[in-house]
């Protein structure tokens, strides 16, 4: 499975989204499920799927899906 597909599956499961809602422009402020607990779930999911353990500062500093993609890229995880 491609990295983008893995990321989309992860986001759908963490934030309980449908396919159509996904995109790098999706912001934390747009989702009621991207709250502090959603941030915890996202960090757990990123570690499961990509093997990268986000620091609390990285996880709480994310403001959008694009921000997550950019963070993962800096860790050598390329999301097409």
């Amino acid at each position: 499975m491609a990295a983008r597909e893995k990321l989309n599956d992860l986001l759908m499961d963490v934030f309980l989204l449908d396919d159509g809602e996904l995109g790098d422009e999706l912001r934390r402020a747009d989702l009621d499920t991207w709250d502090s607990l959603g941030t915890v779930s996202l960090a757990v999911g990123v570690e499961e799927v990509f093997g990268y353990h986000m620091t609390p500062e990285e996880a709480t500093g994310l403001e959008s899906v694009g921000g997550l993609v950019a963070l993962l890229r800096t860790k050598g995880i390329e999301i097409e």
């Binding site: 499961d13 309980l16 959603g38």
Partner: protein, 302 residues
């Protein structure tokens, strides 16, 4: 900060008069006969009260904590759990059942009881099924803390030590004093690391199904633990670091569940699964709980 641990014999030293006593109906007569205290109906405390002794389960103890500690001049709380599991006597968390069916959850160190009393007799004579379910809650607090994403090394070390102490004990078996002490320690861990999927399921199902919290937790914990071993990113490392044997733990957990509870829970899981996924307790689980994980419970019924 932990509540002072007292035995029944040393409890009177902790009671600053005037003392008010609340007791669940199951132990009211024993409270009179063995503790020498006169229970009154739970409600507003009389002005001037300085100590509230509460003998019962987690629900009554949490109500006592809220009542006593929310007063302008807080009253001492001496908590006497009548069974292990909930651990309310050692927790800064309160869970209150609202009249509208919605639970109020609050966390504050101010809610910690001032003392917890180990009174093994009521636990020792409780029905085996309740003792076993309470053991499930102790196990769940321990295992969910062990792999919690909010836990640091110190919490994991404490949780792993608890696992080693729990393993030799038959769930619901003898050793009431030991179970009460382990229950308090497990709950103290839970208050620092939160809980996970087993509690998220219980939170959503215990009301609609009319099955007590500990019974739901005990019923689903074997499946939740199996998922954790397969999915939790840190299980392998934690298990290796603390010499934890998943098969041995699973064998103990398999002794927890009541077959009738299992059937009722399985029948309801699919209807409530989305609410379970959104439950705050599920969202601090040690692995990401996904919609597809519902399938893992298909064999949960006996």
């Amino acid at each position: 900060m932990r509540p002072e641990r007292l035995d029944v014999d040393s409890m009177p030293e902790a009671l600053l008069p005037p003392v008010v006593t609340w007791a669940s109906s199951a132990v009211a007569s024993a409270v009179r006969a063995e503790l020498g205290l006169e229970p009154t109906d739970p409600g507003p405390l009389p002005s001037g009260a300085r100590t509230l002794v509460v003998c019962g389960g987690g629900t009554l103890i949490d109500r006592a904590k809220a009542t006593a500690k929310r007063r302008p001049e807080p009253v001492r709380v001496v908590a006497v759990p009548t069974l292990w599991g909930a651990g309310a006597e050692a927790s800064p968390v309160i869970v209150l059942n609202g009249s509208d069916g919605v639970k109020e959850i609050a966390i504050d160190d101010a809610f910690l009881p001032d003392a917890r009393v180990v009174w093994p007799e009521p636990s020792a004579t409780a029905p085996t099924a309740l003792r076993r379910a309470g053991a499930g809650d102790v196990w769940a607090h321990t295992l969910e803390a062990l792999i919690s994403p909010l836990a640091g090394d110190s919490i994991r070390e404490d949780a792993a030590a608890l696992v080693h102490e729990l393993l030799p004990l038959t769930p619901g078996g003898e050793h009431a004093t030991t179970w009460l002490d382990l229950s308090a320690r497990a709950c103290a861990l839970q208050s620092r690391a939160s809980v996970g999927l087993a509690h998220g399921i219980a939170h959503q199902l215990e009301g609609p199904l009319g099955i007590g919290h500990a019974r739901v937790v005990a019923a689903v914990l074997p499946s939740v633990f199996a998922l954790a071993v397969a999915e939790a990113p840190r299980w392998e490392d934690v298990a290796a670091a603390h010499e934890l044997d998943a098969e041995r733990i699973a064998a103990r957990l398999a002794q927890l569940a009541d077959p009738e509870d299992l059937s009722a829970i399985r029948a309801a899981l699919s209807e409530y699964w989305r609410a379970i996924l959104r439950d705050p307790m599920t969202r601090t689980n040690g692995f990401l709980v996904r919609p597809a994980h519902l399938d893992a419970f298909s064999g949960v019924a006996a």
